[in-house]
Symmetry: C3
Amino acid sequence: MPSAPSAHRLGDIAAHVRGELLGDPGLLVHGLNGLEEAASGDVSFYGNPRYRKQFEATRASAVLVGMDTQARDGVALVRVHNPHLAYAKLLALFHPATRPEAGIHPSAHVHPSAVIHPEATVRAGAVVEKGAHVGARSVLHPGAYVGEDARVGDDCVLYPHATVRERCVVGSRVILHASSVVGADGFGFAFNAEGEDGPEHFKIPQVGIVRIEDDVEVGACTCIDRATVGETVVGRGTKLDNLVQIAHNVRVGPLSLICAQAGVSGSAEVGTGVVLAGQVGVVGHIRVGDLAKVGAQSGVAHDVADGQIVSGSPAIPHRDWLRASAASGQMADLLKEVRALRRRVETLEKEKGG
Amino acid sequence: MPSAPSAHRLGDIAAHVRGELLGDPGLLVHGLNGLEEAASGDVSFYGNPRYRKQFEATRASAVLVGMDTQARDGVALVRVHNPHLAYAKLLALFHPATRPEAGIHPSAHVHPSAVIHPEATVRAGAVVEKGAHVGARSVLHPGAYVGEDARVGDDCVLYPHATVRERCVVGSRVILHASSVVGADGFGFAFNAEGEDGPEHFKIPQVGIVRIEDDVEVGACTCIDRATVGETVVGRGTKLDNLVQIAHNVRVGPLSLICAQAGVSGSAEVGTGVVLAGQVGVVGHIRVGDLAKVGAQSGVAHDVADGQIVSGSPAIPHRDWLRASAASGQMADLLKEVRALRRRVETLEKEKGG
Amino acid sequence: MPSAPSAHRLGDIAAHVRGELLGDPGLLVHGLNGLEEAASGDVSFYGNPRYRKQFEATRASAVLVGMDTQARDGVALVRVHNPHLAYAKLLALFHPATRPEAGIHPSAHVHPSAVIHPEATVRAGAVVEKGAHVGARSVLHPGAYVGEDARVGDDCVLYPHATVRERCVVGSRVILHASSVVGADGFGFAFNAEGEDGPEHFKIPQVGIVRIEDDVEVGACTCIDRATVGETVVGRGTKLDNLVQIAHNVRVGPLSLICAQAGVSGSAEVGTGVVLAGQVGVVGHIRVGDLAKVGAQSGVAHDVADGQIVSGSPAIPHRDWLRASAASGQMADLLKEVRALRRRVETLEKEKGG
């Protein structure tokens, strides 16, 4: 949980982000904000030439900029290689994360056989079941749930009502946002035309687990289903936004970004450093290659090669999709044009015959 | 929570909705229902000529109708300006909302520094953190969570497992449905190719808040992320359906309706009185103008002007989309037609050359 | 909750699934796994010729196969009519479900007027309100909530933070996954231009209920809204995946499958044995007929006939959609072609006139 902001001198700020300061190192800075919202006493950042106007008009006292930005009157600059990253680091400097005191709240329900690290925090009403482990400095907020024999590593945060079902494994420095669900049963049924009470979808027991590697973030109300057999895996450093669905036996590689309301179907594989934009759907049993990017609302029905950019439903190479999107607006005109051509050809044919 | 229905005389009903009664004011009415489902003793409503048949066949004892509907044998009519609204008001009359007794349940966890209005209700297992405020007549159902320094106004209802994270501000008469999440971290990362342990998505601390104005309703499992810096805002009287995603720094104006499973990306602005239909996606940093309407499953990639109606993914003016949708069904035929034309032109060209 | 695996002899396995064994009945089998993942000592299954290669390369000791599969060296076969179903039954045999001890945990909150079957389990922090019923052998996991006068049948499982709101009715053998919400208010408002404080969306009280029939499974974070008046119904044996939205007054028939992130709008009807693939949207007040299938991400805007297969947004017959999808990729080429044809026709016209 980030705390209220503190104040820092510009010289210290430049040092913190290893930047080159063009301005008064003694200037006291109180906060951070976007170029448009920033006021005097604030630091902002300018990393995209698209926002040149906002940069020129900003009231910020200092701006984090790229290495080639020229000095400007009336505003201090801190030149860095990656202004966006430097801004993120300053936000962390100004709002150092706080952690509730270690210990188990008397109203938490911790099974005697569970192992809670003495530096961990288990807050009011949180539940840790039989045989579960919770690592050092991890925080279980009120209502968080860690199931039987599940393991949560060090320095994790489970926000209210986050659920980790039995036997699932969560690495270190993982954040599970409120009402996220790790390890619900995969959606697997075998149709049985001759059940005892007539036809039925016979439930396939989902006996596998979910394994979440280190440094993963799981958004609010995001669901990661346990494997039928084996593991559903979310790789190191991957970030899932809110309301995302990861089905059973999916494997997501490290460092991928899956945006809100996207869904990945059973046994699909998402590679390393992939970006799935919002509301994307990926069908089961296919592979989205490393560093691939999938445009918002796209439906991926076939393998995507490493590095490929695709869009559309069904998804096609992004360039083709752009062409097709542009063309589809011309469809009605095209219909007219073809009808007109047909008439002209008919006229030519008649005249020739006449 | 609405209670079981009571019974009312038709004269009182007409007075309650300020309608003109064509029928017996002493008739006792027991319930309300749709035209098809209503039985004798029920009131129904008829506001859309599309349902003329159902109106003519209804077994309801009385029907709320528009001002120009003619009297009909065997059924009492109550003429009003807005039959749908009148029906809603009667539902509220027949099922007056009840509220649990004020007070803090012994198993609730309320920090000593939190301020709970004496007329508020904090039920079993609900949590109110340090410095938080809960206003008069507000009800926190079991498992509801109000974070540090957060504020919940008067007459709010937080259903089970609703979460309001630290410092967020909720107005009065706000309803947060079960497992909704207000103030989870926005999805913000700065790629850092040179992290201590290799490449990483460096987490940008999300130090802003969510501000929900008065009379807002937030659906079950709907997520509204806190701003990176500043505020994510949902305006007065706006209603969000279930499973909606509102990203960080979004601003939704007053009186908008956002239907289930729609998502609004970071820093986008949604105006006043906007309707986003189900499963719509809005990309970041754009504006959907006042009174605009966006069709179901559309993907809004650019600004939408005030009052505009758009559909499709990417979204285009609704009329163009209707034309394009109709045309796309003809695409295969068009391909054939063009191939045939080409052959005919080739024939003409050969003959000319021959 | 499935337990850790046990070991079984192949003869017993064949008997359990009523299969014909080609192999050593005394062989001890320790686990189950997919064809590719299976190791020596495992049983796998092969039901789809698409996986012939994996079948031929598997290291499993035994494989469940169809009745016409030929014997193979080095691997025992168990011939059955439905290998997938037999595999599911073996998973249940190897991982028999366990149930926590019956009884009410001292930290659960059960109203004195609630009726809890003595064989039911109410775990830590679960809540059962006034007048609610919980049937035999049902398990309410920590944080599960059963509202006033609601009824939960026999042999149900409510995972952590599952919510059943007041008066809703849940049948027997129903599974509600974590953070699912049964009975939140439907999304119903009547616009009132002349509210006391200006224009408003007047809330239509949602006084109906949700009725969930026997053998239904409701995914994590799935929301089923209560009816405005009457019932929202999910029929016997229907399975809902995660993050699904079922709006007020929807009726879903028996034995349907609704995949993740799909949504069904108000008063729509979904028949018997229907499949809605992932991220499908169904508009309100229409009917999707029995045994119909709707492709992923489709938007159903009109009635779908019994047995029909549709795809696309808006949805059209699946075959037409395949043709249109294929054609849309050719759109840009078609535009070029038509322009070229126009020039050729112009040339012909000029020459004729010349």
